[in-house]
């Protein structure tokens, strides 16, 4: 699914998959920090965003 999203033009760092056990709190924090850093570096997402209909 990640590969197909990337083929369609979603940036590689935009989508992440992880497997974290409920006992792995430190891994959870680490992964979340890593992901937020990567996504912040990319900036706001412009793709696959549906614009609200313009109402006059």
């Amino acid at each position: 699914m990640k590969n197909l999203l990337e083929l369609m033009g979603i940036e590689a760092d935009r989508i992440h998959f992880s497997w974290i056990s409920s006992a792995e709190s430190t891994k959870f924090v680490k992964v979340v920090n890593e992901i937020t850093a990567k996504v912040k570096a990319l900036g706001p997402n412009q793709r696959f965003v549906k614009q609200a209909a313009k109402v006059a």
Binding site: N3, L4, L7, G9, F17, R47, V49
Partner: protein
């Protein structure tokens, strides 16, 4: 090719007479040239309706889903692979089927012919690897190899993988073709270019769902696009909704698609949505060594777990 037609009729007649099957699913001449349509024959005297030529691109596995009868079905390479997929997914039982295998030499792309001639096409005939098109202006001849459907030109499974009868000797499989060259070309683009590429590719889509309806894999009682509680995806022409539809439709075919080309053939605006399913086929082959519908005794790639499954996408 006409010998194929005779042989199909002969086999179908025999099967119906001997009551081995209740019906035979094949093709009959369409009302327009190059538009052969699926046809169900139930009586031995009706087999004259059945035909075979290079305009039988529709995938007949689509007509087997959840049927209860004993069925004879005409199958080229890709149809037979979809029949295998149907059997694996419990949509039909092998015992119900008598598969009439047709070694396939590719189907004609009606759009390529239409683009190459002026005016309305009155008739299309083929012989010795050439296709002769009759229009009001006169006759024009094409080499069949040049007007094949794109998926047929890179097909490496022309012969049926399972069959009970064969209408002819197996044909030589193509070698040295790269089925995934077009996908690789897109992969080589930047993310920005890829986004634009698909924006342009999908822009003409009118959301008619012909691609879904022609696809033998799409047999859900209610498709996700038709659901309204919850509504998974918007139903209008919004480019993001269109893209969501195509993305998910393709993803539902992961590890199941045989690149039969029924979707692209059915599309009224000629979108090559096969690029999406082919990407999944390419990855399935590269990551799991899996090609859909080649064996009745192997579970599909997304249906099995192996300790060495690739997991480098997981943090």
């Amino acid at each position: 090719m006409s010998t194929y037609t005779e042989k199909i009729r002969e086999i179908s007649q025999r099967l119906l007479k001997e009551c081995k099957v209740e019906m035979v699913i094949g093709f009959r001449q369409g009302t327009l040239p190059m538009m052969n349509e699926p046809c169900i024959v139930r009586k031995p005297e009706e087999v004259e309706r059945l035909v075979w030529d290079s305009n039988c691109g529709i995938n007949l596995a689509n007509y087997l889903t959840n049927r209860k009868e004993k069925i004879g079905v005409v199958a080229k390479g890709c149809d037979s692979r979809n029949i295998v997929t149907h059997i694996l997914e419990n949509k039909i039982k092998r015992e119900q089927l008598v598969i009439i295998g047709v070694p396939c030499q590719g189907m004609i792309d009606k759009r390529k012919i239409a683009a190459g001639v002026q005016g309305e096409i009155l008739s299309v005939a083929e012989a010795d690897g050439e296709v002769t098109v009759q229009t009001a202006a006169g006759a024009q001849t094409f080499k069949k190899a040049e007007v094949l459907q794109q998926n047929c030109s890179v097909c490496t499974h022309r012969n049926p993988v399972i069959h009970d009868e064969m209408v002819a000797e197996p044909v030589a499989e193509q070698t040295g073709v790269d089925p995934y060259a077009d996908v690789a070309a897109i992969e080589a683009m930047s993310a920005e270019e890829r986004w634009k590429f698909f924006e342009e590719l999908l822009a003409p889509c009118i959301r008619c769902y012909a691609c879904r309806n022609a696809c033998p894999l799409c047999y859900c009682p209610t498709c996700f696009v038709d659901e309204s509680k919850p509504q998974w995806v918007g139903k209008g022409q919004d480019p993001i909704d269109v893209r969501t539809f195509h993305f998910l439709r393709a993803y539902h075919c992961a590890g199941r698609c045989t690149d039969c080309g029924a979707c692209e053939r059915a599309c009224p605006v000629g979108i090559n949505m096969r690029l999406l399913t082919k990407k999944l086929n390419k990855d399935c082959l590269a990551l799991y060594g899996w090609e859909a519908g080649l064996a009745e005794d192997k579970r599909p790639a997304l249906d099995t777990y192996k300790a060495n499954d690739p997991e480098n996408f997981i943090h």
